[in-house]
Symmetry: C2
Subunit: 255 residues, 2 copies
Amino acid sequence: MRIALLGAGNLATNLGKALKNKGVEVVQVYSRTKESASALADILSCPYVTAIDAICCDADLYIVALKDSALAEMAVQIVNRNEGALFVHTAGSMPMDTLPCEHRGVFYPMQTFSKTKEVDFSEIPIFIEAQYEKDLLVLKQLANTLSRSVYELNSENRKYLHLSAVFCCNFANHCFAIGERILKEHGGVPFEVMLPLIDETARKLHSLSPQEGQTGPAVRWDENVIGKQLSLLDDEPVMQEIYKLMSKSIHSNFT
Amino acid sequence: MRIALLGAGNLATNLGKALKNKGVEVVQVYSRTKESASALADILSCPYVTAIDAICCDADLYIVALKDSALAEMAVQIVNRNEGALFVHTAGSMPMDTLPCEHRGVFYPMQTFSKTKEVDFSEIPIFIEAQYEKDLLVLKQLANTLSRSVYELNSENRKYLHLSAVFCCNFANHCFAIGERILKEHGGVPFEVMLPLIDETARKLHSLSPQEGQTGPAVRWDENVIGKQLSLLDDEPVMQEIYKLMSKSIHSNFT
């Protein structure tokens, strides 16, 4: 199978590496910026192009791993490169029909990718969807090559999956970033001291649900501590607002 | 050294077990509720009491691991049990002088404790403070018996440490709880699929700071995705508010 990889960002880079590790060849990389395109093509030992017109017309599978905004905009031009081929995108939040072609699908590896951080792809759940059963089988086979957890999921449910991932990953990480900032500004304790607590907070979820494992002043509704902590944030209105809202939400149990 | 452990909640239970594992004897457990007191006393093979008047007068060290609110209220009665002894509390958010006695200190193991979840105490940072250098040495020795990371920290800086921990643990965990709830209500994907993502989000912090590792629609300021995700939360005003505020805070980088 000839695979073209369109995009050279965090996801494309990690996916490309995982394909290479499993002996699956990528025949071409596309990225608008030469720097990204050539960096990834180097890793994958394949040619790259920086113009949509130059994307090859003879791949069997086009994996479109562009920014969600670029994806919608460029979809028509991309699928025009080869009308008979299978096109898939990798965006959790975008419906399958963002791709205006007959053979279309979604190949969404749900993980937080950074270019400089290697991940073990075999642990990453991959959510697939396709217009045709035959194409779904192609995607399932490819996904099974990369990962132990492969799920079929339609666009409607994937929207909520992606929303859940934004809370579980992006917003949780922002809580860590706020924690880091508080430490940096007060007392000079290095952020590393938080790692055992953060690791345990994540590890705990393997045996307790997040609701069962909730601890802290908000779940106890300890108004004395909550009041004092809010006043420590008097100079940080956004953090103070986040503190209030999260405490309220924990206490009221989502109601 | 004769240690009395006052409290039988999550922290007291985990601390008691860790002391026992290291061969440090607890001579008495106190808790207001018989059920908790006897459960922990059973584990530690020691007697328990449920009245403050019955707390022994001959311990060398009293570890007061009560709820922050109960601590302030009961401190006077507790320290009256033995004027010469060393009293410490375990509350990250409370200043040392909550204990109205001469020999006082703080012994704060920073971790999220649940009674049913065993933790490896040797990894838990313990923050200590004492009024007198001699008492600090006693606490340091005890802390070193339990953990590889022991830090001295005064009450003022510990307030911020604890605030940081609330964000890194309690609020991050609430993000997981919201993620779980979204999945439960839409599409029936089990929460377990989030664990690789959550594990990686935590693991990443060992090599990238949370700010460097931030991903997702908010840091890219992808207004299309943000708008669509907000509309998925139309029936969940608190979650929608959290989504808005977190996205804004990620995007503006705390300003």
